[in-house]
């Protein structure tokens, strides 16, 4: 293949700088989970394993973490079910207001979170709903639906209808075609959308801040304690999430590559 590089060294060098810029804070967060800092984890005071042995040692940190997991799971389950249904309807059926509905689902992603958060808070204020875990879940489900629809829609659009037709030709009733053919083929897309939605919910701060009242999530805990210094236990919990998620992604990647190799050999 002919050279199509734009200056041999330029691209790798800039890429390396960008990657270092991107990854340095991650290393910092993990490193400071081992900091013997006491209350304020800003300066390096020496190495310790205490924080890892007692990740719930700082007040509130595990409550906040637990709340984030609860919110993330509930919002993800509801958003994945509702979003998948919408995605199927949008790709497979022709109906009035189709483009209006697509626009309605896309707009939340193109709206700054501060506007979404303030709007929901104004609505809860008017309705006299007390803010707490419930309102956080309601808010997260809303933006997660948008992302699920986009992710699953792409998957539905890439399905080959001939496979389903084959099922129908073999006299399978529609429900069987759906559960034995369509759904299994969509499943990887649905799982991907659910993981994306959990990640977005788990790390959301701005919308949460407007709709949480006195309840705390993990990001809100960090924001609130930022003034006095975030306890190193928060770094421990964040590092645990990071390492587990990374391992999960690597395992999925490796399984995928192996599967492709196997298919190539056949």
């Amino acid at each position: 293949m002919k050279s199509f590089s734009l200056g041999k060294a330029f691209v790798p060098v800039v890429s390396a700088i960008t990657l270092i810029f991107l990854l340095t804070p991650i290393v910092h967060v993990i490193l400071f989970s081992f900091n013997d800092a006491g209350r304020s984890n800003i300066l390096w005071k020496g190495f310790t394993l205490d924080n890892w042995q007692n990740p719930c040692g700082a007040p509130q940190v595990c409550t906040a973490f637990g709340n984030s997991i609860l919110v993330g799971v509930v919002a993800t389950v509801v958003a994945t079910v509702l979003g998948t249904m919408i995605a199927l309807a949008l790709v497979r059926y022709r109906f009035k207001f189709r483009s209006t509905i697509s626009l309605l689902l896309f707009t939340p992603m193109a709206t700054p979170e501060v506007v979404l958060g303030a709007g929901l808070a104004a609505q809860f204020l008017l309705a006299g709903v007390e803010k707490g875990i419930g309102t956080i879940i309601l808010a997260h489900t809303m933006f997660c639906i948008s992302y699920v629809v986009v992710a699953v829609k792409a998957r539905v659009a890439s399905l080959n209808p001939a496979i389903e037709e084959a099922g129908r030709d073999l006299y399978a009733p529609p429900s069987q075609v759906f559960w034995r053919i369509t759904f299994p083929m969509l499943l990887p897309g649905i799982i991907g959308a659910a993981l994306l939605s959990f990640a977005l919910s788990f790390d959301d701060f701005i919308i949460t801040n407007f709709n949480s009242g006195t309840s705390t999530t993990f990001p809100k805990f960090i924001y609130v304690s930022a003034l006095k210094g975030v306890p190193a236990q928060a770094n421990v919990l964040a590092s645990i999430v990071f390492i587990s998620a990374l391992l999960l992604v690597i395992i999925v990647q490796v399984l995928n590559i192996n599967k492709q190799k196997r298919l190539a050999r056949q």
């Binding site: 293949m1 990657l19 967060v29 022709r94 193109a110 790390d203 701060f205 990001p219 590092s239």
Partner: protein
């Protein structure tokens, strides 16, 4: 639009939509009802709140319905510096982000395409930040930067650029990954210099990714208030519109002011995005 670029490598198969009104209705109804209740209604409520007037007999945070359009004028007048600052920050951060992200996207999507293992590793590195709290990562910059730089325009823009690199790289990568390398080869066979090939072939074909990436970053950047907040990378000199909306809503309970500013933010974003999409000739993305 924007996000569909993530999946540019999945070919869509022509699926003639069928007419089955009832099933479509059953599939759509719950989700659409949810979005009407928790997205459309709050938006309308935000507009109504932006026009409210203080309750003559009430205390702090007490407002009554009104048609007080002058709220907008007050909001713009009072917070003009913060409004302009937000957009200057967001535009500079988008531009810097684009300049440092495009080469990385090009490396992953074009240069290492023949090495799937390396490509996979680089992609994981780009999405790795998603797995660890962005607030902790932003705070990390506060420790990493020399203390005299914290609280300046520089540190806030750095925070914005930093937080949105993956949102820039991923759509541009998707576009570049779909680029047919034979076109690039044809260009160089016709004696175009590598730079000309890039300018005339590669770049134009990656415009959808560039537009998606810049929009996915610019819109949240303009409304961001974490980087610019005093506890993170900002100071009173760097307050953005997001900070003002937050403090008016959650601290001083001046809901009409917060709501007016939110609408002003949305309108300016819409104008900038519409102009940009038109100029870049990427309307079909929307």
């Amino acid at each position: 639009m924007a996000l569909t670029a993530f999946s540019a490598n999945t070919k869509s198969v022509d699926q003639a939509p069928k007419k089955k009104g009832l099933i479509a209705l059953v599939l759509l109804a719950p989700g659409i009802a949810y979005m009407l209740l928790f997205f459309v209604a709050p938006f309308i409520q935000l507009i109504l709140t932006s026009l409210q007037a203080p309750d003559a007999g009430g205390g702090i945070g007490q407002y009554v319905s009104a048609m007080q359009f002058s709220n907008y004028w007050t909001a713009i007048q009072e917070y003009w510096p913060q409004i302009t600052r937000s957009f200057i920050y967001a535009l500079s951060a988008t531009l810097i982000g684009l300049l440092i992200s495009y080469p990385l996207a090009y490396l992953i999507g074009v240069k290492v395409r023949s090495k799937p293992m390396l490509q996979g590793v680089l992609l994981i590195l780009v999405i790795a930040p998603f797995f660890i709290s962005f607030l902790l990562r932003t705070l990390a910059w506060k420790s990493l930067l020399p203390s005299e730089l914290v609280g300046t325009h520089f540190s806030v823009i750095l925070g914005l650029v930093y937080n949105f690199i993956p949102f820039m790289v991923l759509p541009m990568y998707a576009s570049l990954q779909a680029l047919d390398l034979r076109l690039v080869e044809a260009g160089s066979d016709l004696y175009a210099s590598p730079l000309t090939v890039f300018r005339r072939v590669t770049l134009p074909l990656s415009i959808p990714g560039v537009v998606s990436g810049t929009l996915l970053s610019f819109i949240p950047m303009a409304g961001d208030y974490v980087s610019a907040s005093r506890e993170f990378l900002g100071s009173t000199e760097t307050t953005m519109i997001g900070n003002v909306i937050e403090s008016n809503f959650l601290q001083t309970q001046n809901y009409p002011m917060a709501a007016s500013l939110s609408i002003v933010l949305m309108v300016i974003i819409l104008i900038i995005v519409a102009t940009y999409v038109k100029k870049s000739g990427a309307e079909d993305l929307l």
